[in-house]
C-alpha cells in the first residue's frame, strides 16, 4: 500500500478530531473521503501529509512514517490544497520546479527548467505553456500546475481537498480527465468533496467519516446519491425553531440571481457548498463589492455603493473571516465593539457602548481582541453590530471553526435577535446549521439559487440533495 493509516487518533486542545481511524488507498485507485464539516477529513489528510503527527496509531507511506510535510513529499505523498500557495508573479515552469530548479553553480539553467517543466505539464493536459505567468492561468489550470508540481516530485499519492470548489465546469471536466489518466498510470488518489455527484462520477470507493470516526465504506458502484446523503446526514430530524414573529412586514426584497423577500423576525438560510456564491450575495448586499442585485428596503429601491450606505440602510455584516475582516485583532475589545457605532467627532465613551455586550457575553475587556478565544471573538463581532441596532443582519459562516458550546451560544443570540424582530440571513456551508437555525433556506450552486426549502422540508439531507446538483 502506498498509503496506510492504522488506528489514527488526534485531539486538538481536548477536542477529539479523530478516533482510531483506519484508512488506505491503493495504486491506481481514487478513494472518495466524505464527511460533514468537523468530521475529521482535513485532519486525516494533514496527518497523511505529515503536517500533523498522530497522537496514537501509525501512518505508513510504503512502510515509512512521515515526520514533516517535506518528508511526506519525499516519500511520495502530496497535498493539493484548496487555496493554492503559489508565486503568482513567476511563470508556470518556475512554479512547477520551485525549490528544485535545475542549476549549475547556483545559476538557474533556464532551458533545462522549461523543458523539464514542459514535460511534466504535458502529463496534466498539455494546454499550459511553462513560460506563461502563473497569474494569467484559470483556476483549473493553476490546479493542474499544482498537480504537475507534485508529479515532478514523483508523487505516488495525491490528496485532493475540494479540488473543484472554485472551478468552472469546463475546468472541472478537464481535471477529471486528468485524474482518470493518472489512475491508469498507477497514481493513488484521495478525493475530498461535498459535491456528491462528482464523488459518484470519479471515485472507486467511498469512505465516510462522522465525528472523527469511520462510519461507512462502500464501493462507489454500490452507491447512489440518496445513499451518500443518508450516510452524510446521519439521522435527520427537524429541529424546532420558533416561528418568525411579525411575519407581515417585508424588510428586504432582493431580486436577481437570488430572489427573496425577507420579513422582520425571520431567519433565512443561504445554503450551498464552498464556492457556491453565498458569501458574494452577502458582500454585495453590504456594499463590499459591486452589487449586481436589485435591492429594496422597506419597499424603496436602494443603491448600495459601500458599507457605509448599507449601514445607513440598517444593514450589518458579520463577515466570513472573523480575524481578518470581522475584527481589528490588535485593537482593544471595547474599541472593537464600539467602532461601528461611533459617529461624533469627539470620541464617545467606548466603554459605555461596549459594556452591555462585555457583560452579557462575559468577555474580558481592556486587552486586544487577539487574546480571546474564537467563540468570544465571534461574540464581539455580533456585539459590535447589535450595538447599532440594525434592521437586517447578514451572517456569513457565523460559527465556522467554533466548538460546540460557542456554536450554541451564537445560535442562541441569533434566535434571540430574530425574536426581537430583526431580519436575519445566515449563510453556512454546514447543512446542519441551516436546518437547525433557519425558518427557510435558499440553496445555491454555481452562484445561483437552485431551490428554496420551507420549514417543513428543511433537513440537512434535502439541502445536500439540492446543493449536490
Amino acid at each position: 500500500m502506498p498509503l496506510a493509516l492504522r488506528g489514527v487518533e488526534k485531539s486538538f486542545g481536548g477536542v477529539r478530531a479523530l478516533r482510531g481511524v483506519d484508512f488506505d488507498v491503493a495504486p491506481g485507485e481514487i478513494v472518495g473521503l466524505l464527511g460533514g464539516n468537523g468530521a475529521g477529513k482535513s485532519t486525516l489528510m494533514k496527518i497523511a501529509a505529515g503536517v500533523h503527527q498522530p497522537d496514537a496509531g501509525t501512518v505508513s507511506i510504503d512502510g515509512q512514517s512521515p515526520t514533516s510535510p517535506a518528508d511526506a513529499i519525499r516519500l511520495g505523498v502530496s497535498l493539493v490544497r484548496q487555496e493554492l500557495i503559489q508565486a503568482e508573479d513567476l511563470d508556470v515552469g518556475s512554479n512547477v520546479l520551485l525549490g528544485h530548479e535545475p542549476h549549475r553553480f547556483g545559476i538557474i539553467d533556464r532551458p533545462a527548467l522549461y523543458s523539464r517543466a514542459g514535460k511534466v505539464l504535458a502529463r496534466v493536459g498539455g494546454d499550459i505553456d511553462p513560460r506563461t505567468p502563473l497569474r494569467s492561468l484559470s483556476p483549473g489550470q493553476k490546479q493542474r500546475t499544482e498537480i504537475a508540481r507534485a508529479l515532478s516530485l514523483d508523487a505516488k499519492v495525491l490528496l485532493l481537498d475540494e479540488p473543484t470548489a472554485t472551478l468552472s465546469e469546463t475546468d472541472a471536466a478537464r481535471l477529471f480527465t486528468l485524474l482518470r489518466d493518472l489512475r491508469k498510470n498507477g497514481i493513488a488518489m484521495v478525493y475530498i468533496s461535498h459535491r456528491l455527484r462528482e464523488v459518484l462520477e470519479i471515485t472507486d470507493r467511498v469512505v465516510c467519516l462522522r465525528d472523527g470516526e469511520r462510519v461507512a465504506e462502500l464501493p462507489t458502484r454500490e452507491a447512489t446519491l440518496d445513499k451518500l446523503v443518508e450516510l452524510l446526514a446521519g439521522t435527520t430530524n427537524v429541529t424546532e425553531v420558533a416561528p418568525p414573529t411579525g411575519r407581515s412586514e417585508v424588510v428586504l426584497s432582493v431580486r436577481g440571481r437570488v430572489s427573496f423577500d425577507l420579513h422582520a423576525g425571520e431567519i433565512l438560510g443561504l445554503a450551498g457548498l464552498v464556492g457556491a456564491g453565498r458569501s458574494s450575495v452577502l458582500r454585495e448586499l453590504f456594499g463590499v463589492r459591486p452589487c449586481g442585485l436589485e435591492v429594496k428596503v422597506g419597499g424603496k429601491p436602494l443603491s448600495i455603493q459601500n458599507p457605509r450606505d448599507a449601514m445607513a440602510a440598517g444593514f450589518a455584516l458579520v463577515p466570513e473571516e472573523r480575524g481578518s475582516q470581522g475584527l481589528i485583532l490588535s485593537m482593544l475589545v471595547e474599541r472593537n465593539l464600539a467602532l461601528p457605532s461611533l459617529h461624533k467627532f469627539l470620541l464617545e465613551d467606548e466603554m459605555a457602548i461596549a459594556r452591555p455586550y462585555i457583560e452579557r457575553f462575559r468577555i474580558r475587556a481592556g486587552g486586544p481582541a487577539s487574546g480571546l478565544s474564537g467563540g468570544n471573538q465571534q461574540k464581539i463581532v455580533l456585539g459590535k453590530w447589535m450595538a447599532r441596532d440594525p434592521k437586517v443582519l447578514l451572517l456569513d459562516e457565523p460559527t465556522r471553526g467554533l466548538d460546540v458550546r460557542a456554536k450554541r451560544d451564537v445560535h442562541d443570540v441569533v434566535r434571540e435577535l430574530a425574536a426581537a424582530g430583526k431580519a436575519i440571513i445566515v449563510s453556512s456551508s454546514e447543512a446542519e446549521e441551516i436546518a437547525a437555525l433557519c425558518h427557510r433556506a435558499i440553496v445555491l450552486a454555481q452562484g445561483r439559487s437552485r431551490g428554496e426549502l420551507g420549514r417543513a422540508e428543511l433537513t440537512d439531507a434535502n439541502i445536500l440533495r439540492y446543493a449536490a446538483a
Partner: protein, 343 residues
C-alpha cells in the same frame, strides 16, 4: 438608538462589571515602549552632559529645544501617516519647497511676507492633497507616490533658486523672530510645536479621526467593513503631513540665514526614525504622539552630542547606530517578555 435593543436583550447581571472595569494596568503596559524610549533619551542626555557640560548651558539647551520642536512638527505628520498604514517620503522636499517659495516670492516677486507664507502653506497643502488623491483614488502605493514627489519637489526647488541660496538680507525682522526669537523664555518654534502637539494629540487620541487612523493602520479591510471611510481618512493624513511640513519649512527659513535648495534633505528619514523610535510600527496601527516627541528628542540629542564632542563628521554614524541600538534593545525586551508570557 441602541438603548431599546440593549435593555430589552441584556438580562440584569450584576457580576461581571468588575471584569470590565479593570483596564488600568494594561494602559501602562501599552505605553511601555514609549517609557523605554524615554529612558533611552534621558540616558543619552545624561551621557552627553557628562562628556561635555556645555550641553546643559542655556544657549545649547535652547537650541536643542528649537531643533527638537522643528523635528517634532514634521515627525508628527509623518507619524499620523504611518499610524494610518502609509508612509510619506516627501516631507523633506515639502519643507524645502515651502521655505524656498517663501523667500522667492518675497525677494523676487515682490510679495509681502504674509502673502508669501500663505502661498507657501497653500502650496504644501495642495501637494499633500494631490499625493493623497493619487494614493486613494488610483490606489498607487504611498511609498512610490511620495518618492516621486520627493524628487520632483526637490528638483523644482533647485530650478526656482537657480541652485543657490536665497536669503532675506535683513528684511522682515518680525518674521525672523518666529524662527530665531525667544518668547516666554523658549525659542519660538517651541510654541508652534506645542500647538501642533496639542492639536495632534487631541485628534489622535480623543477624536473619531484618530480612532479611525489606528483602525485603518491595524486592519484596513476590517475597518472598511465596520463603516470607516478608509480612503477619506487616508487622504486627510497625507494633507496633514504636508501641511505640518510646510509650517516647518517656514520656521526653518525664518531661522536659517537663507533658503537653500538642499534644505531638509533626508528629513523624511529623520521623521520616520523619530516615529519608529517613538513606538510607531511601519505596518501601521501603532504609535502615540508622546512617543514621537521622544523619538524626535533622541534624534536631536544624538546630533547635538556628536557636535559637542567635536566629531561632527560622525553625526550620521552615531545617529544610525542609536536608531539601530534602540530598536534592537526594544525588540530584545519584547521577545523576553513574550517568552515569559507577559503580553
Amino acid at each position: 438608538m441602541s438603548a431599546n435593543l440593549t435593555e430589552a436583550q441584556i438580562p440584569a447581571d450584576p457580576a461581571p462589571r468588575a471584569i470590565a472595569a479593570s483596564t488600568s494596568p494594561t494602559r501602562v503596559a501599552r505605553m511601555k515602549k514609549e517609557l523605554t524610549m524615554l529612558a533611552v533619551m534621558i540616558g543619552l542626555a545624561g551621557l552627553t552632559a557628562v562628556l561635555n557640560p556645555v550641553f546643559l548651558g542655556a544657549d545649547n539647551l535652547r537650541n536643542t529645544i528649537r531643533h527638537i520642536s522643528l523635528i517634532s512638527l514634521f515627525a508628527l505628520g509623518e507619524a499620523v501617516v504611518i499610524i494610518a498604514g502609509g508612509i510619506d517620503l516627501s516631507v523633506g522636499s515639502i519643507i524645502c519647497i515651502s521655505a524656498v517659495t517663501t523667500s522667492y516670492l518675497t525677494m523676487y516677486a515682490g510679495l509681502g511676507i504674509g502673502a508669501a507664507v500663505t502661498a507657501a502653506i497653500a502650496l504644501s497643502l495642495v501637494v499633500g492633497l494631490a499625493q493623497g488623491l493619487v494614493i486613494t483614488w488610483l490606489g498607487v502605493q504611498p511609498f512610490v507616490v511620495t518618492l516621486g514627489s520627493m524628487l520632483l519637489l526637490r528638483g523644482f526647488a533647485e530650478v526656482l533658486t537657480g541652485g543657490t541660496d536665497i536669503g532675506f538680507q535683513g528684511k522682515f525682522p518680525g518674521f525672523r523672530f518666529l524662527g530665531e526669537g525667544i518668547g516666554l523664555g523658549m525659542p519660538m518654534p517651541f510654541w508652534f510645536a506645542l500647538g501642533a502637539i496639542a492639536i495632534t494629540a487631541f485628534l489622535m487620541h480623543r477624536t473619531l479621526f484618530g480612532r479611525y487612523c489606528y483602525a485603518i493602520g491595524s486592519n484596513a479591510e476590517a475597518a472598511r467593513l465596520s463603516g470607516v471611510p478608509v480612503q477619506r481618512i487616508r487622504l486627510i493624513t497625507f494633507v496633514a503631513s504636508a501641511g505640518l511640513s510646510g509650517v516647518a519649512g517656514i520656521l526653518y527659513v525664518a531661522y536659517l540665514p537663507s533658503a537653500t535648495p538642499s534644505l531638509g534633505s533626508a528629513y523624511e528619514l529623520h521623521a520616520v526614525a523619530a516615529a519608529v523610535l517613538g513606538g510607531c510600527s511601519l505596518l501601521g496601527g501603532r504609535g502615540s504622539v508622546f512617543g514621537v516627541l521622544i523619538g524626535a528628542g533622541i534624534m536631536q540629542i544624538t546630533f547635538n552630542a556628536v557636535n559637542l564632542v567635536g566629531k561632527s563628521l560622525w553625526q550620521n554614524v552615531v545617529a544610525g547606530g542609536v536608531i539601530l541600538a534602540a530598536v534592537i534593545v526594544d525588540r530584545v525586551f519584547e521577545k523576553n517578555a513574550s517568552r515569559r508570557g507577559v503580553k
